[in-house]
Symmetry: C2
Subunit: 345 residues, 2 copies
Amino acid sequence: MTWTVGPTNSLVDVAGVRVGHYTRTDDGWLTGTTVVRLPVDGAVAGVDVRGGGPGTRETDLLDPRNLVERVHAICLSGGSAFGLAAADGVMSALLTDGVGFPMGGPGEVVPIVPGAVIFDLGRGGVFANRPDSSFGAAAYAAATDAAVAQGCVGAGTGAKAGGIKGGIGSASTVLADGTTVAALVVVNAVGSCVDPRTGHLYAVSLGFPGEFPEVGPIDPERLAQARARAAEEVGPLKPALATTIGVIATDATLTKAQCAKVSGIGHDGLARAIRPVHTMFDGDTLFTVATGARGADAAPDPFAFHALLDAAGDTVTRAVGHAMLAATSVHPPARTIRSYRDALL
Amino acid sequence: MTWTVGPTNSLVDVAGVRVGHYTRTDDGWLTGTTVVRLPVDGAVAGVDVRGGGPGTRETDLLDPRNLVERVHAICLSGGSAFGLAAADGVMSALLTDGVGFPMGGPGEVVPIVPGAVIFDLGRGGVFANRPDSSFGAAAYAAATDAAVAQGCVGAGTGAKAGGIKGGIGSASTVLADGTTVAALVVVNAVGSCVDPRTGHLYAVSLGFPGEFPEVGPIDPERLAQARARAAEEVGPLKPALATTIGVIATDATLTKAQCAKVSGIGHDGLARAIRPVHTMFDGDTLFTVATGARGADAAPDPFAFHALLDAAGDTVTRAVGHAMLAATSVHPPARTIRSYRDALL
């Protein structure tokens, strides 16, 4: 295998993709919004919704039968369905910048901003504190092509998974032919990212050599404590507690249908990193965006597309691992949510 | 056939359903929002998206595989994708009223408000004048169980179809067994509701006896003029000019999957009233909501469900006819858009 990790091992290794977070953690708040900005001409996009409790907008236009081919940003947010409002702020900012689907006249554009949300209501202590359009505008303004900030930032601010603190994670892969595929995930699951038999993150076993160096032997006593806390945290189930969402990006030239296929195999990457996942209390949704920067001549043949799909799944898995390792313990009024590092390393 | 028209021949003939419009037509504006409010416990819902350029939110949760069974309102709005913001205002108002999917604590609810939008940007003269969350809140507050106001109101304010003024239309049918099915549509289509051979509305031929009394012989000269104006208005095509959206409501007890089926056959009703429809420049979307007020014991058997489907299609067709007959000519700065009445009756 001649695949390598990209320069920043994060979503921005796909040229033209920028990521911005807006994070709010002051009194009563523990939520935020993450915006993936795309080139001004947009990127071809697809989606696969696999969770049983999704919160989404502008996903129907991504059906390969439908007209709009390119999206201009993806908005990921906390706040459950309320957080869909964050995309309004992204749309307004894009309109101001003149970026969108052209409607004829100068400056007359409709920005295409699909979005999905995670459930994190009340994690900062106040149920009604949730992102609004200003969160989307702020995350849009903060977008940069620097290595993606990970852990408890943006849409991952209030995330948790299996009783342990979740968050934002990202990873990238450069294929043998030079194609880059990268992923950004907001890990917030009913299920767990930790193998209860060993205390290791499921994702770590699929890392590149040296990608997860901090993971050594797990202390049996700490493992027992973590198991007990996780059991207490996870059960009894409350409805709609979770949802893992994310964006896969590539510089390959793909159709909308191929983007949807990449999202689908990305969900396999989630399945290898989170157990269980895609439950009725998760709204797991993955978008895929293809910038086509490598040119139409470089559109993948079936075997190159196979390699891209294979890499996309593992890249999503690795991104989940980075999310869990970057997350830090939080101490909102309600109760402490321990990070994986604090619980087990 | 022992079917009859309901008391108001509009959506509110389904008990517990209320409709509110917010309309803005002052200088530079020609748009609005319509909210369909449902009983506080919500209604089972489904959707069918048939147009090639949809703008939607919260449709993925309506997949019959997914957790959430009931929605609390449907938000229909002008403003193209920008108008999806109107649903934010509906959600906030429902939260204030304590209505939503229960999350555990007192007042801790997530209102479920699917929505769809029509393209009407710039019809009032200013491209950037589009509904925001305040439109949704105002339409929610205005909701009433009085006979639905039709024509150039709410989400139909800026609508047009085939070069003629469109708008909101509604109709209802009471089946032999007492089940009510009703429809509200926002007619805004690339195609035309008028048969170019006769000048008649396609929909009128499917009306109940006496339902469309105002339609008599068409003057050949006015028909020729209308044809010429329609040709000028419709062509050359600009992208994403249109979209017909709507809500079908019934007091039957249906599953989510059955609601989606009702929406699907509702699109056949659009097909009989608008030609062409469901094009790549229409984002045609129909929601169906079932209150179940007739009780689980009255859940339709296959033959009763067949009758409901049959009636739903024709009810949608008739609603389109009422939309076109209720619409009035508008004279925004850009140009006059004539109503069907002014053009042909």
